[in-house]
């Protein structure tokens, strides 16, 4: 497929290197690498303001990085020739505050991009939506409006909406932090299920127990830099860096 034989095929599905981003005088990302192998679940932890959300948004160019490179499935997303709308189809995104479209039913929330971006017929898109709703355990909510659902249900719809496009990777920005504690489990159950299906995910979250159970890699970000990364056991039980230890002590307490 590649005519440039010299270009090595990356073992990473997502390969972000040296990503920098400033908002005005504040440099939020100071050269961050994020490497994600296919089928893996990567957890992004760090204090608020550490750059987690910005890093995720740079990965699909909802924020434009100032410098660095972002290679998704061997496509350079920062190249001026990159078709960013096509690329975004391959990169699902789930938001802390769900961001469902309040004026559309659950079904239309899921089918909008299928119809307008993928070009599916309404019938096919509806069938796909039904499939996704079954997968997130809400098969009877197609006709509901977001305002009629609990936070946990809304977030599962948010996941269904991104999953419907059959993305190569899903980025989740604190998917459970806006939820009441009793609703967190239902969302994490869906995430766990996706992981078991081999879907690649990067999740910014502080659900430590879940991370220990499900994450393949944990990346600790602070002050716009990756301070430490490794498997969940190592980061949570044997952190090497002081800042990591301090952070973990804070959120644990």
């Amino acid at each position: 497929m590649s005519s440039t034989a010299a270009a090595p095929v990356s073992r990473y599905l997502l390969e972000a290197r040296g990503v920098r981003k400033s908002f005005g005088p504040t440099e939020v990302l100071k050269g961050v690498d994020l490497l994600v192998e296919p089928g893996k679940l990567v957890f992004l932890i760090g204090p608020s303001g550490s750059g987690k959300s910005t890093l995720l948004r740079c990965c699909n160019r909802l924020e434009e990085p100032d410098s660095g490179s972002i290679i998704m499935d061997d496509v350079d997303l920062l190249s001026p020739r990159a078709d960013i709308n096509a690329a975004r189809r391959q990169i699902g995104m789930v938001f802390q505050s769900f961001n469902l479209y309040p004026h559309l039913t659950v079904q239309k929330n899921i089918t909008l991009a299928l119809r307008k971006v993928v070009g599916m017929s309404t019938a096919d898109a509806n069938a796909r939506a039904a499939e996704m709703l079954a997968l997130v355990g809400l098969p009877d909510k197609a006709a509901s409006y977001p305002a009629q659902l609990s936070g946990g249900q809304q977030q599962r719809i948010g996941i269904a909406r991104s999953l419907a496009l059959n993305p190569k990777i899903i980025l989740m920005d604190e998917p459970t932090s806006a939820l009441d504690p009793e609703l967190v489990g239902s969302v994490l159950a869906v995430v766990k299920d996706l992981r078991d299906r081999g879907i690649t995910m990067v999740i910014a979250s502080h659900e430590m127990n879940f991370a220990r159970e499900a994450a393949d890699k944990v990346v600790f970000l602070d002050g716009g830099l990756v301070i430490e990364e490794g498997c969940a056991e190592d980061i949570f039980l044997r952190p090497q860096e002081d800042r990591t230890r301090r952070f973990l002590a804070q959120i644990r307490h």
Partner: protein, 233 residues
């Protein structure tokens, strides 16, 4: 003692404002005025809201020179009294060779004023849609235009409906200003009937007709608000 002096105050009141003979004589003519008011009103509402919506959507693209002209247009037409615009178009423009029929002048003036207010209302709606809506839509690969069309504008319209219906009604009521340039709408006809008959009954009828014309609009606006609630209770 004359007959008039013999009248009680009540009789005089009824004779002046609710005179059946006068009502019969001028009723049909004033009713035709209602037809003009309704048609001109529809034209003002449709073009004004349509143009305001188009301008707001255009402004959302964020092209600076275009936005400058939109903002200048909006600010000028929001601050000018409608009667001033009407008089300039009707009495001023013929001096530069542009002669417009009075009904067209009335329609253009009020349409432009409503467009200016509607643009501002839709724009306020667009800017108050949370940024997360843009992020969510763009993250699924929808283009800017698709996001605007399918996600942002429908929400902006809902937010705009209550202020917009109020504004549309208050501007459309200014159709009565058409009487100043000889448009034969309700007030124009009632006013000439008043001069002919030396009796205020035509004005009563005019007032009644305005109520009959605008009450359905007020009710319709309430229904619209209710229908735009998307599953909230």
């Amino acid at each position: 003692m004359t007959a008039a002096d013999a009248m009680s105050n009540w009789d005089r009141f009824v004779f002046t404002f609710f005179n059946a003979d006068i009502a019969t004589k001028y009723g049909w003519e004033i009713l035709q005025g209602a037809g003009v008011t309704i048609l001109a009103g529809l034209a003002v509402v449709i073009t004004g809201i349509g143009a305001g919506f188009g301008l707001a959507a255009l402004r959302a693209i964020g092209w600076k020179p275009v936005n400058f002209f939109i903002i200048v247009f909006v600010d000028i037409f929001r601050s000018l009294p409608p009667l001033a615009i009407i008089l300039v178009l009707f009495f001023g423009f013929p001096n530069i060779g542009i002669v417009l029929p009075s009904l067209i002048v009335l329609w253009m003036s009020l349409g432009a004023v409503l467009a200016a207010f509607a643009e501002e209302i839709f724009w306020a709606g667009i800017t108050s849609v949370p940024k997360g809506q843009w992020l969510a839509a763009r993250s699924t690969g929808l283009t800017f235009a698709q996001t605007l069309r399918y996600v942002i504008l429908p929400q902006a319209v809902r937010l705009g409906i209550p202020p917009l219906t109020n504004r549309a009604i208050s501007i459309t009521k200014n159709l009565a200003l058409g009487s100043a340039i000889g448009v034969n709408e309700i007030l124009g006809r009632a006013n000439s009937a008043l001069s002919m008959s030396a009796n205020a009954t035509p004005l009563t009828m005019g007032a009644l007709l305005y109520v009959l014309v605008f009450i359905p609009l007020v009710i319709a606006s309430r229904t619209l608000e209710r229908n735009y609630r998307w599953g909230e209770h």
